[in-house]
């Protein structure tokens, strides 16, 4: 088990390297703009652009730029002579746009993204799981048909559209009915809990909608399948109340794959819920990534991509470990 975890962690490192290299190459192969020109102001002289290029290190060769970036990003000193490694604070570079260190910015923005993600998780589980169970048990009922139709709509609706429609109708500034706080009202939880909650309520619901729908459908189909299993027949033949057959025996099996998907979804969203953060102007990782891409800000793009990758691979690992706990038949060696 421990050797399995160590092997997986080695792969995390390898993957982060690969992803950083690929991001680097993509950024240069398909630049959204010239970073030097963006910084040089209106009608810059060729000499100015050249000096900015030099200043940013953009005039070096591609491998050299990558080497410089990685040397700073790694948490240990590359120039040291082998072991023992000399550890240092990793440095993900500075934003071209405002010269702020990317790592500090990521750290400051992470709580917003975590707030958005975990709140949405709670919302979608609270909605998706009961609907999934009820529509599986009352299959073909009106309730089942209504919720599954609703789920299809929620899955199909793009999150930015849903967000804008939500703001248009229900936000306290531009909305028709003033229920929720509007865009840009995000308050950190450390400042004011009730403002934090109020500002995130609509984003949570909007972000959770498609997930809730997806989870309800997934759980429903899992439950329907599990209910035909032999061990469900055994549970009934034992004389268990139907409620216990469903909530303990069937749900225990049907929810296991949901846990896997949940872990991955959390990992993905922690890397930035880009569209939701953009629509509601929540200063999280996603919005940072969006700004980085818009401004051809390599360090920002690289930093947010690496962070997202990190969350996804770690979530993957956690999911696999949790799965072994949930399903006693799974053993890693």
């Amino acid at each position: 088990m421990l050797s399995y975890v160590i092997r997986r962690l080695v792969w995390v490192v390898v993957l982060l390297f690969l992803v950083s290299a690929v991001t680097f190459v993509i950024f240069y192969a398909l630049p959204s703009a010239d970073p030097a020109k963006l910084r040089a102001g209106k009608q810059p002289t060729a000499a100015l652009i050249k000096s900015i290029r030099h200043q940013l290190g953009l005039d070096k060769s591609l491998p050299e730029q990558y080497r410089v970036y990685m040397a700073k990003a790694l948490p240990f000193d590359l120039n040291g002579k082998g072991f023992p490694l000399r550890f240092k604070t990793p440095d993900l570079g500075y934003s071209y746009q405002n010269s702020q260190p990317v790592l500090r910015e990521l750290r400051q923005r992470l709580p917003a993204t975590i707030s958005l993600t975990l709140g949405a998780v709670v919302v979608w589980l609270l909605i998706g799981i009961p609907i999934g169970i009820i529509s599986a048990v009352r299959r073909r009922s009106i309730l089942d048909r209504a919720t599954m139709t609703g789920a299809l709509v929620a899955i199909s609706a793009p999150v930015y559209w849903l967000g804008l429609v939500g703001l248009y109708f229900f936000s306290s500034d531009i909305g028709k009915i003033h229920i929720f706080d509007g865009a840009g009202s995000y308050t950190p939880i450390s400042d004011n809990v009730s403002h934090w909650f109020g500002s995130l309520l609509l984003p949570w619901i909007v972000l959770a909608a498609s997930f809730a729908a997806f989870y309800a459908r997934l759980l429903r189909s899992n439950m329907i399948e599990v209910m035909t299993e032999d061990y469900i027949r055994t549970a009934r033949a034992k004389g268990l109340p139907e409620r216990r057959v469903i909530m303990r025996h069937a749900l225990r099996s049907a929810i296991t794959p949901i846990v896997t998907v949940l872990g991955l979804d959390i990992g993905i969203l922690l890397g930035g819920a880009l569209l939701t953060e953009r629509v509601f102007t929540i200063p999280g990782i996603g919005l940072y990534a969006y700004q980085g891409i818009s401004n051809a800000d390599l360090s920002v793009v690289q930093g947010t991509v690496l962070l997202a990758t990190f969350f996804i691979v770690v979530a993957n690992l956690i999911v696999d470990l949790v799965y072994a706990v949930l399903d006693p038949r799974v053993r890693y060696s």
Partner: protein
């Protein structure tokens, strides 16, 4: 009064393809402590008829008719709550595949404890003790240690022992064993059957064994009912079924399994054809499309299950005259093929016994 009295039990499923006549008016009785074997091919209705006793076939698309008196109480008209109390307490069931029949995510100890505590208001510790006792009784080595094992950590035979322990943990009056040995190795089969026999002797539990394999019920069953296409086609005590069977389908079953006392070199003869569709059943005798001794009249006249000759306990559903049947079995028992038997015994063209 018999422990279980089934009369005219019929089960129909309304499917998109039509009405499936899974069970078509079967009747039998079972005394306390006795073993009844229900034998038949897949789709003969043997499992459905038993699942129905526990109301496990009930759904909006199922029609159930008839009566199933258990200790004088009709199982088919019980309230949901009463059904639940009967299941696992008065009537228990074990199934074909013990791996898929035990919950893969729960320790077997917890599954046994759950069975106890569903029907008895006892402490967890007391239920645990009872579970350990039961595991020991069915021959699980180190029962205390195995309580915390998961089903996949047992061998097939041990899993079926766990199932049997779980079924008998509340000392039911009736155990329904649906193909209890089909998924097991032959050597393990014998052990499981021996265990069931021993537990029957010790606890006095009546057993219904459902199987497609006459060999399984040969040792244990007091009485055997042979089912075909949703009906009982022959019913008699086990001895009669093996030594003086009178239904061509029973002959087919007997001739298709190897026996130690059959003559050397005798070939096994499969029953030709396939089980009939239960949606569009054959007219007349349901077995006529596969019967080697079929006559024109058998395709139109539906035989009744009636006593044969003087033996009121030997019931046969066949249109052949009784003396013809006995003569045919005489030939078959001596090693003749159905074709040879047909030539040797004249089969009356239109005459029927009914």
């Amino acid at each position: 009064m018999a422990l279980l009295e089934i009369s005219d039990l019929a089960v129909r499923f309304n499917t998109d393809d039509g009405v499936v006549h899974a069970v078509e008016g079967i009747s039998y009785e079972l005394e306390k402590g006795k073993v009844l074997g229900i034998v038949g091919e897949s789709g003969s209705g043997k499992s459905v008829s038993s699942l129905t006793l526990l109301c496990l076939t009930q759904s909006a698309r199922t029609e159930i008719e008839g009566e199933a008196l258990f200790d004088g109480e009709d199982l088919l008209s019980l309230s949901k709550e009463r059904q639940r109390k009967v299941r696992g307490n008065d009537i228990a069931m074990i199934f074909q595949d013990p791996l898929s029949s035990l919950h893969p995510f729960f320790k077997i100890g917890n599954q046994l404890v759950e069975a106890v505590r569903t029907h008895n208001a006892v402490s967890k510790a007391a239920a645990r003790d009872r579970a350990i006792e039961m595991l020991g009784l069915v021959g699980i080595p180190d029962p205390r240690g195995r309580m915390d094992s998961y089903p996949h950590e047992f061998s097939g035979g041990m899993r079926q022992r766990v199932m049997i322990a779980m079924a008998l943990i509340n000392e039911p009056k009736l155990l329904i064993a649906d193909e209890p040995t089909t998924a097991l190795d032959v050597t393990v089969q014998a052990q499981i059957l021996e265990l069931l026999g021993r537990l029957r002797d010790e606890t006095g539990t009546a057993i219904v064994i459902i199987t497609h394999d006459l060999g399984v019920v040969a040792q244990m069953a007091d009485e055997i009912a042979v089912m075909y296409a949703g009906r009982i086609v022959e019913r008699a005590d086990a001895n009669t079924i093996f030594n003086a069977p009178e239904h061509p389908y029973t002959w087919g079953l007997l001739k298709s399994i190897p026996r130690l006392n059959s003559p050397r070199g005798e070939e096994l003869i499969p029953i030709s054809g396939r089980p009939p569709s239960l949606i569009n059943r054959p007219t007349g005798c349901h077995f006529h499309p596969r019967c080697p001794y079929v006559r024109e009249a058998h395709k139109h006249t539906d035989p009744q299950l009636i006593p044969t000759g003087s033996d009121q306990h030997h019931l046969v559903r066949c249109l052949l005259p009784a003396e013809t049947r006995r003569a045919l079995w005489g030939q078959l028992a001596a090693g003749a093929t159905p074709d040879a038997a047909k030539t040797a015994v004249p089969i009356p063209e239109e005459a029927t016994s009914q």
